[in-house]
């Protein structure tokens, strides 16, 4: 069966609800193209989401979907994956969902090594509720709840997930769409917990509060700040702030939860037979 990208998107739901210049639609398009490219059947795909602008992403996919509560997409996805090894499970989250209210589920999904692909469109603020600061708003930046500058320090999401035990960790941007597709495809094909952060932009709130000059200027700035891991590592320490490494940042083969659990089942059944 030949699959087309349109098979994965609900045409009747388009155009999407996001603001002009928002990166979320770029991510949705990339995910749909990747699913089509990999030929994963729509009825073998489950998309879980939470709440927030990017939490609406499931609306556009003609797949199975579980639109849950704020921050819990990975917890719902964990239950799905634990009983359905044959399904491709994706959790689509914003930075509020994945890293702020859902931070606990993120580190534990990575540690538990569930075979789930988590894709985070990180636009550094809560768009849905009016541009408040999140756990990825850089220190000093202005938002609707940090008008004098954010007093907190932001998470480096990729480092967080590597630290928590994630075996596949990548970062990309809405400018590098082909690279994004390649990384998402690799993440889905990876057996175990995979994590792709998209450094996104929210021109409506974050961009406006910080006078970043609209969507085009914001994407241009993201492009300028992105570089390969190798290049980033060569930068002198004092030059590093303001830049970020992109691409595949971490790859490690690890046995995923379901494979490990099959061993548990085997041992349990053996010992049950003996007794």
């Amino acid at each position: 069966m030949i699959v087309a990208v349109t098979d994965y998107l609900r045409q009747d739901k388009l155009p999407h609800l996001w603001c002009g210049g928002c990166s979320h639609g770029v991510v949705v398009g990339a995910v749909a193209r990747v699913l089509a490219g990999l030929g994963i059947p729509v009825d073998k795909t489950v998309i879980t989401t939470g709440i927030g602008c990017f939490g609406k992403a499931d609306d556009y996919f003609a797949t199975h979907a579980l639109h849950g509560t704020h921050g819990r997409a990975l917890a719902f996805a964990s239950g799905v994956k634990a009983v359905s090894d044959d399904l491709t499970v994706l959790a689509l989250m914003g930075d509020g969902d994945a890293a702020t209210i859902g931070g606990n589920h993120l580190i534990h999904a990575a540690r538990r090594n569930m075979d789930i692909t988590a894709i985070v469109s990180n636009n550094n603020n809560y768009g849905m509720t009016g541009g408040q600061y999140s756990a990825t708003t850089p220190s000093g930046k202005k938002t609707s709840t940090s008008r004098y500058g954010n007093p907190e320090t932001d998470f480096d999401l990729c480092s967080l997930v590597v630290g928590a035990g994630g075996g596949f960790v990548a970062r990309t941007t809405p400018f590098h769409v082909r690279a994004m597709e390649k990384l998402i495809a690799e993440a889905i094909s990876y057996r175990g917990f995979s994590f792709v952060e998209v450094v996104s932009c929210c021109p409506t709130y974050y961009g406006r509060y910080n006078r970043e000059g609209g969507a085009v200027a914001m994407v241009a700035s993201i492009k300028e700040r992105a570089m390969s891991k190798e290049k980033f590592n060569l930068l002198p320490l004092e030059a590093k702030p303001g830049y970020f490494p992109m691409g595949k940042l971490h790859l490690e083969e690890k046995i995923d939860f379901n494979t490990r659990y099959r061993e548990v089942q085997q041992k349990a059944q053996d010992s049950h037979r003996e007794s």
Binding site: I51, R72, K81, V83
Partner: protein
């Protein structure tokens, strides 16, 4: 013929046995006293049955995971106690709004908050009913013996599948941890219900289009019929729809599919009701003390009876009213400051209703109920 197995086990063990009998094959949970035995047994037994146990990072994730697994067609459950049940309220709402069958065993302990860790209480009646926000209905079953822990857990899965709804087992620390004789059912002895699956073509299937009984058939993730579960107020397709008439139709249907079927869902057990002038109405471990009190008072020639509620929600108002039609007065003993008594008052407003409450981490003893009855005369 297969012989029934007789065991001497705790209420928690009996809940786990009931879940396995009902074909539950997924458990996600976070350990908390006095419910942890259920997790321990699930972790040991489920892998032998081809099922799966996952220990989640908290109770929010635990109920989320059982919702996710249930969406794949696997009967799923979790167990917890007060502090954990508080955390579960958020996603209990998802199971209600998304109409996802699942069973939550809440072994009540003394609160508020950490409370008297871990002393008995029966103070989660209203949290169970209204703990998650918004208008909704819930099914909650209340076992008073180890045998009832077993039977009501099987029934919880059946009701959950039939009504596409979460079901709470409102157990309590004493019932959960005491040991009694239990007769386990043989395979096939009890009918096990399964959720309705879609019968039409995948293209026509809508995740939330109800049949005439108000309950939508439920596809599973992986089926050709695409399932869309959502926590948002939605239309029959499962997409956000804020049209007021749509919102009202949905909220009403979610409520009515439970409350309109109260006769099918609710169960009460009655004792000595033929000529009872006063009826004790209670549930859980307090029903055991009340039955003992009834026996003692009957020996003295007093016409007292007992209603043991096996269902707390929907409240079995009609069945109670019918049972107490000829009684003069009612006495409601409960291990909280008076949650059940108000429901009894609402159901039986023409009767003289007395309350006996205790909220200090100790069980109510038969002598206290007898004294409360004497004081009410």
């Amino acid at each position: 013929m297969v012989q029934s197995e007789v065991k001497f086990i705790s209420g928690n063990e009996a809940c786990a046995e009931g879940a396995f009998y009902a074909q539950a094959r997924f458990y996600a949970g976070y350990p908390i006293t006095p419910s942890s035995e259920i997790a321990q047994i699930a972790s040991e037994r489920l892998p032998t049955l081809g099922g799966c146990y996952v220990q989640m990072e908290d109770e929010i994730a635990s109920i989320a995971a059982i919702i996710g697994a249930s969406c794949c067609g696997v009967k799923s459950f979790t167990a917890t106690s007060g502090p954990g049940f508080s955390l579960m309220q958020e996603n209990l709402g998802v199971a209600i709004m998304g109409e996802v069958p699942c069973v939550i065993i809440n072994v009540q302990r003394s609160g508020p908050s950490t409370g008297l860790a871990t002393s008995p209480a029966q103070a989660d009646i209203m949290q169970c009913r209204w703990g998650t926000h918004g208008d909704h209905a819930i099914i909650a079953l209340t076992p008073s013996s180890v045998q009832e822990c077993y039977e009501l857990t099987i029934r919880a899965f059946n009701l959950s599948e039939k009504y596409r709804s979460p079901v709470v087992i409102l157990s309590d620390k004493t019932v959960a941890q005491m040991r009694e004789k239990v007769i386990l059912f043989t395979p096939g002895e009890v009918e096990l219900l399964e959720r309705k699956k879609p019968t039409g073509s995948p293209g026509e299937y809508l995740s939330f289009r109800p049949d005439d009984d108000g309950i939508p058939p439920m596809a599973s993730f992986g089926d050709p019929h695409l399932l869309r579960i959502t926590s948002s107020t939605h239309n029959e397709q499962g997409f956000t729809d804020d049209d007021p008439s749509n919102a009202f139709t949905l909220i009403r249907r979610l409520y009515d599919k439970i409350e309109d079927n109260a006769d099918d869902i609710t169960q009460i057990k009655t004792y000595f009701m033929e000529d009872a002038e006063t009826t004790f109405i209670t549930f859980g471990i307090t029903a055991r003390a009340a039955l003992n009190a009834v026996h003692k008072l009957r020996e003295e020639g007093n016409k007292v009876g007992l209603i043991n509620l096996l269902t707390m929600w929907p409240f079995p108002a009609c069945k109670i009213k019918e049972a107490v039609a000829n009684c003069r007065s009612l006495l409601v003993p409960e291990m909280n400051l008076g949650q059940l008594v108000r429901e009894v008052e609402r159901a039986c407003c023409a009767k003289e209703v007395h309350s006996y409450t205790k909220s200090n981490g100790k069980n109510i003893f038969p002598g206290e109920i007898i004294q409360a009855w004497r004081d009410s005369l």
